[in-house]
Amino acid sequence: MSEPDPLDSLPWPGPKPPSMSCSQKIHQDCIKDLSPKACTSARRRAALTLLIPVFTVGVFSLLAVWRGVEESVIRAGLLGALGWSVVLGVTLLVGLASPPGHRPRAALRWAVAVAVPAFFFLFLANTAWSLDSFATFTDHAHVQHTLRCGGICFVVGAAMSSGVMLLWRGTDPLTPGLSGALLGLVGGMGSALGMGIFCPSHETWHVCVSHGVVLASLAVLGGAAGRRLLSP
């Protein structure tokens, strides 16, 4: 058992009440326009957040059918999306489903924010159907295709991340950057999985760069945006 610290018994200064005039001003400001608002739970917002990537994957799947992508490709993509939606669900449960102050340690949440994109890269690299040489990958036609695919993936992911960011706006003064990174991850993952179904190319370099890098960059951008948007 540790010894009690002698400083513990000191008469520490107590809380300091503000002046009467300051308190009156604050009361006036905070009581005017006090319209009733709904106080939602973190769990409900997390559930709504999960619906957004699910919806996006659904839209991309319909587009893939309309575009005439092979049924086996769509089926494999949906199977992958199903597995990763479980990972996303766990990510949201660990990272955001409880109110700030009751969430798991920041270190664990940072580990999730780093590990999920890392495993996603591994998944993409291992499930790709072919591997071209780097020289082939960097030829003009391939680069153009990768940029187009990556661009669509980025724009859709950024739009989704912005949507979920608005849903969580002002909710986390404690770790806004970390929560923003996790929300960026959600948007990026939805978009990358959707593109995995819609995109005809399943070459390792292509999927890692145009789908995987987009996911990682949206997580980083989400962290930066979260600092501004998630803090009240």
Partner: protein
């Protein structure tokens, strides 16, 4: 009868305030404002600035009340907003060159003048004000505002180990300062 069973927690008061109850705000303010004011006073060492920042903090809290998540601990939530307001204000002041001293730094408010006091509380106040900001903040949050190490670390945006270290180092400096006080006749 247990009186505490009838007393709503600050979290319940916050939910009622979000629901539009002005009386809940009054009670919430009565309970949390002295803690926030104490923290701001410790950061700024200036009552006027601390009161201005308290107003900014409550104004932000009022505007963001809809985004309060059910069950979130109110005090760390409000203290984090207060800290952010303080840092924003300091950054803005730094960019206003007229506020800077000749060496280009932000002038610190003058600490309480040195003097011999027989009051231990006064000595602690003075010793706390003399600590480096990081130690002062960590001790204020854990020892005076009553936050746990985990809560203080989330308010300060650092790890629990860093908070423990700051508190420990701050204690050592305080101890030295108070020993000096006890030797003063």
């Amino acid at each position: 009868m247990d009186i505490r069973a009838d007393t709503p927690t600050v979290e319940q008061l916050m939910e009622r305030y979000v629901g539009g109850n002005p009386d809940a705000f009054g009670e919430l303010y009565r309970r949390v404002s002295p803690n926030i004011m104490g923290y701001l006073l410790r950061l700024t060492r200036n009552r006027e600035r601390a009161e201005d920042l308290l107003q900014v903090t409550f104004s932000k809290l009022h505007r963001a009340r809809e985004s309060y998540l059910k069950g979130a601990p109110v005090l760390p939530w409000a203290l984090a907003i207060a800290r952010r307001s303080f840092l924003d204000e300091r950054r803005a002041a730094k960019s206003r060159t007229e506020d800077l001293s000749a060496d280009g730094t932000l002038p610190e408010p003058a600490p309480v003048p040195e003097g011999v006091s027989n009051d231990v509380s006064d000595a602690i106040e003075r010793a706390l004000d003399g600590l480096p900001e990081a130690y002062r903040e960590a001790i204020q949050l854990t020892k005076i505002s009553g936050l746990s190490i985990a809560e203080a670390s989330s308010v300060l945006g650092t790890s629990e180990t860093a908070v423990k270290l700051r508190v420990h180092r701050g204690y050592n400096l305080l101890r030295k300062e108070l020993e000096r006080f006890s030797r003063t006749p």
